[in-house]
Symmetry: C2
Subunit: 299 residues, 2 copies
């Protein structure tokens, strides 16, 4: 990872405001605090400071993570798949999105990892994190195993397939698709949820694990349901779903996983230091409420 | 259960408003909708109608349940303990609080249950539910096995101990204590969380299960922590903690359980119709995030 120049505009905090984040029809989260960074563009970014959550990164008006509970999201995203792999099987990791470094931070805790590639389309996300969320950086921010590319992950994946590259673990750590649909554009992450993308990933990880964050189904049912259907179509019976509760997200967040091995079994002996993950959570995370099974995940 | 007269004032819905529910410092839930019932008194009650959550019962400004996700709370509260008991062991059930009928509705799904006693201090809660939340009523609203007493549960429990009564399952389904502390009063539920109350319950259920809802620790750490310490003191190693995610509560809700049998094992063969509970959730519900163990539940 090269030392990046910080090209963000320098601003002081604005006045104290009340910021509403629409969650559902007639239901919002209301945060009191300060906008400490804000910039438009293809993705509108904002860093907000709140007395309870700490700092919150908003993308297109939707909270992506808070400094108070991001550890739950990133540990669930990484350690559930990583711990299902036997020792020595986690060498090359691709993170699609994930420019906030949080997933990479967790992956790099495994000494056997040789290379982690982050492919994020927005160069400002890593810059914002380096300035405002240093806790998300890897223990060694200059870890030579980490490569950050500012690129559309879809495009990079296509090139990697042509070059015959392979990965042990692919993590799709993106914004929710279809949530902030403006008049003319889909959310940038839209293509990372489709069948074409996953058909490419299957070639990139013929024996590997592929995990996708799939939002909170209680408030956004369609994302988990459609993501699960794509996985079933592309990966067949190697498709699994697990969950973790990230309090700032409201309901349980869903993760869809392709795994050739039964991922409810922990195969690794070592475990890095964690604050959310325990070995007992490996199996328990895959146990879903009945209504997820009957009302969301049915084919 | 006697047919209750509906003594509530009759009101039409008021104007559409934005209602904020403070959750933490600088963090609130914001609901758009209509107040369709509101009354002060020792406990301030309000029924609010919202396009996403449906109807929401507020007590002292805090949402108690919504018609959209109350099924998760009530099924987790009842079926986790009930399914740990072998067939034939669930005859007499006491519900402290629970005037909303939701817990009783779930308990009465077991045909072997002979008697369910609800002890709620506020006579308006059952009335409000009968008028505005009929879904919370038992399948047979006039089920002769159900007895509703308007009484301070602490007082009733004392009398029952003196009479030598015993129960198979005691459910403490109350408001969170200490949350709405006004200048002169504690929350009415305060006494139901203390050592004295639980010492009485132990005599009332010498072989039985005792479950207490203990709020959402991520935003209200002290309730689970102090409730768990009281259980450990009174019930020793028969103390357990499990969780369920009720999306309108934000983070996972905690339940503290006293069980002489290992409650992670499901002993019952039959299972009533459920929308949240599955047999696989019996063990999984007791698997807690590491930070609950290290930062909340330590003695």
């Amino acid at each position: 990872m090269s030392i990046m120049e910080d090209t963000l505009p320098t601003e002081g905090p604005g006045p104290k405001i009340l910021l509403g984040e629409p969650v559902q029809r007639g239901y919002s989260y209301l945060y009191e605090g300060f906008v400490i960074y804000e910039e438009g563009g293809e993705q509108a970014l904002m860093v907000f400071e709140n007395p309870f959550w700490g700092r919150v990164l908003f993308i297109n008006g939707t909270a992506q993570f808070t400094s108070r509970d991001e550890f739950i999201y990133h540990e669930a995203l990484v350690h559930i798949p990583a711990q299902a792999l036997p020792e020595g099987r986690l060498r090359r990791v691709l993170i699609c999105g994930g420019g906030d470094y949080g997933a990479a931070r967790e992956v790099l805790k495994y000494p056997e990892v040789e290379e982690v590639i982050i492919a994020d389309i927005d160069p400002r996300v890593p810059e914002v994190v380096r300035r405002y969320f240093p806790q998300l950086l890897p223990e060694n921010p200059e870890d030579p195993r980490l490569k950050l590319f500012t690129v559309d992950a879809f495009k990079l994946v296509k090139e990697m397939v042509e070059r015959g590259e392979t990965f042990d673990l692919i993590i799709i750590d993106s914004t929710d698709p279809d949530v902030s649909v403006t008049e003319h554009t889909l959310e940038l992450s839209h293509s990372l949820f489709g069948e074409e993308f996953h058909s490419l990933l299957k070639r990139l990880a013929p024996e590997g694990l592929i995990v996708q964050q799939a939002a909170t189904p209680f408030t956004m049912k369609n994302i988990l349901g459609s993501s699960y259907r794509v996985f079933r179509k592309v990966y067949g019976p190697e498709t699994y779903c697990y969950r973790a509760n990230i309090p700032s997200f409201g309901g349980d967040n869903a993760f869809v996983l392709r795994s050739p091995l039964d991922p409810t079994v922990r195969r690794r002996k070592g475990l890095p230091e964690t604050r959310y993950y325990t070995p007992e959570l490996q199996a328990a995370s895959f146990v879903l409420p009945r209504f997820w099974l009957t009302e969301v995940l049915h084919d």
